[in-house]
Structures are given as C-alpha cells and as structure tokens.
Subunit: 296 residues, 2 copies
DNA sequence: AAGTAGCGGATATGGCGCAGTTCCATCGTT
DNA sequence: AACGATGGAACTGCGCCATATCCGCTACTT
C-alpha cells in the first residue's frame, strides 16, 4: 500500500463516485478503479459497495477511513516540519552576554529581531562574566556569546568584533572634575580606580590600566567591584572613579556623572564568539543576522 | 512522496548506513540512495549528512522523523481495522428476547458464545414482549429477536424456528392434581386459566386456548397476568393454573408445581427473527452461529 | 411493455516512465 | 594497499496511466 492508494481511496470515499473522484485526482476512471481494486486485494476485503449510482463505503471501508483520513495532512506536516528545520526555523540556541554587552543597543536589538524572525527557535539568554561565557562555549553549554574581548582561544570557536565604542569616565557627581564636560585622565591620578577583578574580565581590566599608564600615571587600585553594577554604586559612594564603555551611560544613578575623556580615548570592542563545529542552522542564521546588522 | 519513501527513510535513519538499510529492506544500496535523494529533492532540504561511515540525520531529518515514525504502524493498523470490520469482528448488534425465550438454555448460551467469539462487537440485549420486539424489528431499533412465534409479517424480516419445547402445567403445589407426575388437561376444566394478554403474545395465547379446547373444554379465563413472572406468582396464590414452555421450570417458587401433561402435549416454538436488508457482517455472523448452534 | 439513452464501473491493450539490478568510480579510513 | 560506504551510469522489467470498449442498471420515451 502507498500513499497514492490512500489518496485515491479518500477521494472516492468523499465523492461517492469513481468518475468524479478520478476527475478531482487528475487521472482517468479506469486506472482509479484498478488502483482501488489492487488496494482491496491487498487488504483482502472490499472497501466499497459498487452501486448503480456510484460507490458506498462498506463497514471495512468505514473502519479503514477512520484510520487513514489524517494521512495526507500528516504527510504534508512532515514535509513542512523538515522544511522549517532545514531553514533553521525551529531548534534552539543558547546565547550568553556580559552585563556591559547588554547595554549596547545593538545587542538587545539583535535578540528582538531574531526572535521576531524565527519565532519557532527557542533562544535562551544567560548573563555572565567574560570568563564564565568563554568556559560555557568551551563546555558546549553555550552556542554564542557577546563579550568585550577581541581574541579568544579555543578549537572550534570563532570570534568576530562587531562594534567598537569609546569608553567614558564615571565620576562622583560632586567631584570638581565633574563640573566640566571633558576630563583628562591625568587629573584623576590621585583618585582611587574602581574595577571588576581582572580574572572576570581581563581585556577590559588591561585596557583601563593601560589607558592610565598612557596618560602618565600608575592607577591607584581602589575598591574591587564584584560586578559592573557595583562599579556604579561604589562611584556613587565617592569611593573613586572608573572607566566604562559609553553605552553604560544608560545606567543612571544618583551621585554619578559620566564624562567624556579629553585626549586619547580608550576603545571597548564588542565581539560575538560562537561555536563553529557542527553549527546548527538556527545558530548559523543567528550569527549571519548578527554580523549583517553590524556591517554598516 | 509515498509510503515507500518513508519506509526507506526510516530504515536508513535506524541503521545510520545506506548499505545495511538496503539489505534490511531487500533492495540494492544504489536505488535506496536514489530514492532518498528523490525524497530530499521533493522536500527541498537534506535529511541526512553523508559521512564516511554512513549517514546521520540532519535537523530536517530529525524533524521529519518525528512526524513520520508512526506511519508504518498506522498503515498496518488501518489494514487490520478494515480486515476486522470485513470479518464482522467489530460493529454492533441489538438483540431482543421475550422473558420465556431467555429461559431456553440455548439463548443465553448463544449470547455467551457470540460475545466470546466476537469481543469487538458491541451486543446490546433488550427484554420485551413479542409485540414490542416485532415493532422493534420493523422500526429498525432491533436487529434480531428471539420470540415464541412461528411466523412474522414484514418486508425485509426473516424468521427461523430454531427449537421446539413441550409445554408443562403450572399448578398450586397444594392442588390435588399436583400429587401426580402427569396430569390430564381436562382435569382442570373447572379451574381458572391464568394467561398474559393475547395482545402481548398472541401465538402463546392461542396455543394454550387450543390445547384446552382439544381436551374437550372451554377454558375459564382467570386473572390476566401482565408478564410471565406474574403468571407464576398468581399460581402460587392459588388463583388458578397455566401452561408454559418447559424451560420455565427453572423459575422455582414456593407453592408452585410443574407437571407434565398427559395426552397430547402442546409445543412452544422458539424462533429467531432478524432484519435481512443491508445486513451487517456482525449480524450475519450472529445469525449464522445461532442457526448453526440449533441444527443438531 | 419494449426500446433507447445516459451514467457509472470494469476489462483489455499499449506505451511511457520509474524502480531496481549490475557494474564501477570516488572518497575516507585503517 | 585494502576495505567500507555512497553515488553515478547503463540497462531491464514492471507498474501506472491513457484510451477504447464492454457491461449493468436506471430513467425516459414510445
């Protein structure tokens, strides 16, 4: 028995007449009659009573109909499911990001845009620090991550720098320097520098320290902030100053002022890193769209 | 797409290897490869990754598998359902019977035997008097009935007499005649005769009245019993006597004695009547087995 | 009542396309 | 170099469909 037989059977069952069923299917009445006869021979019982005005289902035909009626739709559904999967319209991807990456407007936009374009793909988001994200890629717990570093080591892992943003100073709002729109880094040579631990974000850490050194002074290490939000809070508490990527200025807090840097401005890169071995179609789509969104 | 494609796909998915799958199916590896290729072309996406040691499902292949995996079983189930229906192993029949017919041991045996042989057939049983049963056949509310009459009028209704049973006397156990094993009907010429109304069972009524007349007396009509059980109760109350088919002796009651009739014994026929137009296979089986059971 | 037309299913025949066989090439692994 | 696995090419036989026609039944007309 083939799906062809089932399609022919269903057509006759619906029309109650071989001639009309044949016309609907697009073949002649004699081959349709023969195909139904072949099916009845294979099953071993008649599916139709032939009557002068057409054909009526037998009890066997009724029982058969009840089971095979869904077949054409199921077949179509199988094809559609395969096509959607082949286009990456279903599946799942696990995406990580650092806190500061999330403040880049393009990152939430990429999430929003991808979700809208591929509603059938289950996208899981996870915030973590850079070290954790890299470990997650290596351990295959994450498929792609947004982070602020411009190189990554690891087999089967690719990284693309997708944007660069200038850093800005974060000062207590009562600080004398905060009265001006631009502040030279060297003015803060006597202030404590607040940073997250190097181990959680080495690239950012090194860039900030280098920027201070390039301005002619060795930074005085201040309070260690466990995470980015803490940096802002400590500055608000007048424990010192810091440097953050410009999009962080969205994080407003009482007692905190953001100021552009006078002179050479350190740059923070935003990168997309992802697993490139056995990449799923959904992930490939995600990466393509992310890179495309950052090309102009 | 045909079931053949699905069967071939499932074989490769299970074996992970075209060569072994082909061997399992019973065709060569090249035509299997071509058939899968045709399927992939029709769907428009690859279902397998070809790798050096065989083939692995793609995401599209996995999605396709999830939908089509049940197809072979469903196809088999459809064939089986049609075959069972064709053999009358499923369906429903509605059978009626009179109270006295139910006392014939063969009637419950037919019910028991049919239920065991065709567990998939839903058999509904209904007790009613003869007139109601005949009306039920005519109205197509019943498919077959056991009743005590030897003719029936009605288009599309057939009747077979399946057994004959002698009638016996039902007497109050204190009655002088009850002291003997055999009693002549004429001994009861002065006693009241208890019967069910003629309208509910004309054949039985007429036979009993004829038997009395053949014994030389006109019966004195006694209490009218609404149903058969009432007849026994009235006799126990010493309101008179009656005649019933011999199997009724199973209905024992205090104050009641059954006695064989001396002389000519009236006979009660048990018949099966059924609808014969558009007879279902299940009903045909029921009738066949009932007639076969009563042939020896 | 008989004859005819129309409708519908089934049989017979022929042809084309498809599925399977056979042989062999290519690639990757051992 | 040998082996295992997939896929291409040539060939053959079978199956599905088209076409012609027959048969049975019903309805209509004479």
């Amino acid at each position: 028995m083939e799906l062809r037989h089932i399609r022919y059977f269903l057509a006759v069952a619906r029309e109650g007449n071989f001639t009309r069923a044949a016309a609907r299917i697009g073949i002649g009445q004699p081959p349709l009659s023969q195909q139904i006869r072949d099916l009845e021979n294979e099953i071993g019982t008649a599916l139709f009573h032939r009557v002068p005005h057409g054909a009526e289902l037998t009890e066997a035909g009724t029982a058969f109909l009840e089971v095979v009626a869904p077949f054409p739709d199921l077949a179509e559904r199988a094809i559609r499911a395969a096509q959607r999967a082949g286009r990456g319209e279903v599946g799942s991807i696990r995406v990580g990001f650092t806190a500061s990456a999330a403040f880049s407007p393009s990152v939430p936009r990429v999430f929003r845009d991808f979700r809208r374009s591929y509603p059938g793909v289950e996208m899981t988001l996870e915030e973590a620090n850079s070290a954790q994200l890299v470990a997650g890629l290596r351990d295959e717990r994450l498929d792609a991550v947004f982070l602020r570093q411009d190189t990554i080591a690891g087999d089967g892992i690719r990284l693309h720098v997708i944007s660069s943003e200038p850093m800005v100073l974060v000062l207590p709002s009562g600080h004398p320097a905060a009265q001006r729109e631009k502040v030279a880094l060297s003015e803060l040579r006597d202030e404590a520098l607040i940073l997250t631990p190097r181990a959680v974000g080495p690239t950012h850490y090194d860039k900030v320290v280098s920027a201070c050194r390039d301005s002619g002074f060795e930074p005085q290490m201040g309070q260690i902030a466990p995470q980015l939000g803490s940096v802002i809070n400590f500055v608000a508490a007048e424990l010192g100053f810091s440097l953050v990527p410009k999009p962080m200025t969205q994080l407003q807090a009482k007692g905190v002022a953001y100021r552009e840097i006078e002179g050479e401005v350190p740059i923070a890169q935003l990168s997309l890193a992802y697993r490139s071995n056995d990449i799923s179609t959904a992930l490939r789509n995600f990466v393509s769209r992310t890179l495309a969104a950052h090309q102009s």
